[in-house]
């Protein structure tokens, strides 16, 4: 599906807010958007792992994107959302400040990311989409959801 879109020159992305920036993830990677509900803390996991929720019978891990990117933590508000994304076999919920929009962006509008955008390391980013009046930071979900760091932390604790 993604390929078709790309051939047409456009991708559909879900736009969400994190601090002052707008970010985008491809619709094909998003399973659903949920309101914040009770999160069960999982002890002795990295700080950005907020815990797990019951997503219609499936226990789904939740990570806080702000903490994941090393941004300062924010209060959870009415507009806080959990974006459930699926990458390969992983299914993870991302806590974001708000999820506001679904838009089509031309593929050629995505440029490689500069070193740091809004305090987020370039490694987590796939690029920056320049639209008419806004800047959209495209996430590299593979990297964001990489379990390497989890394993490293594990090793440290032992």
């Amino acid at each position: 599906m993604t390929e078709q879109k790309e051939m047409a020159g456009e991708v559909k992305v879900i736009v969400f807010q994190l601090k002052d920036e707008e970010y985008g993830v491809e619709v094909s990677q998003v399973k659903s958007i949920e309101k914040l509900e009770h999160i069960t803390r999982v002890p002795r996991t990295p700080k950005f792992v907020k815990g797990v929720i019951n997503l219609r019978g499936v226990v789904t891990p939740i990570i806080d994107l702000r903490t994941r990117f090393g941004l300062e933590e924010g209060e959870y508000t009415e507009s806080t959302r959990i974006i459930i994304v699926a990458v390969g076999e992983l299914e993870v919920g991302l806590i974001v400040d708000a999820a506001n929009d679904v838009i089509d962006i031309p593929v050629n509008a995505v440029e490689p990311p500069p070193e740091v955008v809004g305090g987020v390391e370039a490694a987590y980013l796939r690029g920056v989409a320049k639209l008419e009046n806004r800047l959209l930071v495209m996430l590299n979900l593979d990297k964001v959801l990489s379990t390497e760091e989890l394993k490293q932390l594990d090793a440290l604790e032992v």
Binding site: T40, V42, P43, R44, G57, V59, L90, K151
Partner: protein
Amino acid sequence: MDMNQYLDMFIEESKEHLQAINDNLLLLESDPTNVQIVHEIFRSAHTLKGMSATMGFEDMANLTHEAENVLDLIRNGKLAINSDIMDVLFQSVDLIESMVIHISEGGDGSADVSKLVQKLRAIVSGDFSAAQQESAAAQAEAEKTSKPEEEKPAPSKQNYELDEYALTVLRQSKEQGNNLFWIKVTLSEQCVLKAARAYMVFDHLEQMGEVIKTKPSVQDIENERFEQTFELVFVTMQPLDKVKATILNISEIAEAVVETIELKPTASEAQANKKTSALQAEKKANAAPQQTGKKPGVGGKTIRVDIERLDILMNLFSELVIDRGRLEQLAREIGRSELQETVEHMSRISGDLQNIILTMRMVPVEQVFNRFPRMVRDLAKDLNKKVNLEIYGAETELDRTVIDEIGDPLVHLLRNSLDHGIESVEERRKAGKPEVGTVQLRAFHSGNHVFIEVKDDGAGINKEKVLKKALEKGIVSQSFAETMSDKQIYELLFASGFSTAEVVSDISGRGVGLDVVKTKIESLGGSVGVDSVPGKGTTFLIQLPLTLSIISAMLVQVKNEKYAVPLSSIIETAVFKKDQIMMAHQQKVIDFRGRVVPLVSLEEIFQVPSDRQEESDEVAVVIVRKGEKMAGLIVDSFIGQQEIVLKSLGKYLVNVFAISGATILGDGQVALIIDCNALIK
């Protein structure tokens, strides 16, 4: 004909037959003179051949056909078994097995069988070099009669094996002016659906007259229990040429011999000869049970159910269990007696249902165990050791999900026992032990657990070697090493990055150590331990939960969080006074029924955030155990016992310390399940 609908059945049955052949070949190896076993093998091979031919897997049919020829000679005492023949047979079974696997994975089951076919043919014809001296006499005989069925002498001298009834019918027919024919039909080699061809022959013949008798019986022909040829006695008004032409008109018929039967009164002597009577053939009665041999009388009591359906059933039921928890909670809150009664009743029924569903998923460990004798035999041969595998408790039942996963760890442990445990024949002789080493594989139930024990009578674990290795690899420090108990040292075998094999062999030392076994077993919610007596042997003990899906658990509260502790690891719950807590080695301990039990604060271990500091002079403690060892988990309060559905934390959160999974509570929230094994050192 669309064969796809039969494919699953074919694969299942092929596997069963292959297993049977494997088992029986092993038996035969230890008891080479037992003809009964050969018969069993022959039957399985024969069925396999028929099935594979019907399904159009020609390579497989071809190979089984050749193997069958060899077996036929053996069963008729024309060929003596030796280890070379056994090896070729085993190789054949392996190849067929790989074909079946290929087929089950969607392949066409084709494989290069020419080499084995050649070997098998060589055995049949007696050219097989290794077999030569051993059974030279037998071979000469075997050669002459290698194809006893196909090369019958001239049929006019044939004993038609007709009984009194058939003869009467024939005589009467003759008197009425009918022609009596003896017909022998040979199907072409390429013929796949032999039964169908045979049916066509019968169909055409019956339009012209009556088939009085067949050989083999009609039943056997329908079930394809015949070689390339079958014979029949036919009564018709038509002349011989016409009959012959009709048969030859059917495709895939290689040859049809038609001869007129001369009735002689003496033919009645033949009556007693065979069980397959004309009467039977006409009525198409059941074939003689001695010939079919397969599962007599047990049919109809079991059905095959797709495993996927069982899984779906289980998942649906899990959802129900969660809702049940919720309903129970609601009913308590609302407090209306009718509602409570109904909910209670429903709980009871769903409890029964749960038991049934769980037992439906239970399968005997036999499924896993029965491939080991063969594996051990091959391994022992490769290693040049003599090993006898003894299996006990193969009927012990385990949840299917556990069964599916337990195979590899057991293979690993067995390989380990053979490779490192059992000594070579010379060493054993020197140590004054019997040359043949023994490996015992034992499964048994105990409480909510199933134990599987792998025990060898080998040299035992070399403590010094293990310690040295662990120090080299930096797994333990020098100072700690000095304080370690024997048991602790043995447990080092399971440490990751540890492998004692000095030379990496392809038996057990493939660069992966026993830590893989440990990880696997623990991921199944079980544990594995090892004990060893120098010079006497080593024992590995695996403990597994009966089921992985629904377990009983105690819910406990720690500050604002709820955790589930599997009931299987709880000894009891207790409340202690604060002043009963003592300190030993900077560790809080309590005296529990005369035993000193270390205390573990869940609040500290799990770093539970808390805003309030409650001071109470009592502590609630859940006493849990891991094998012999115990520990007390300090909690805030006990919520109660509940059936919970095990859910995994997903692929993202792996190896979370002391958490084995999660469950969904009645209120829809997730509670984590505590892995007590990790909390007890």
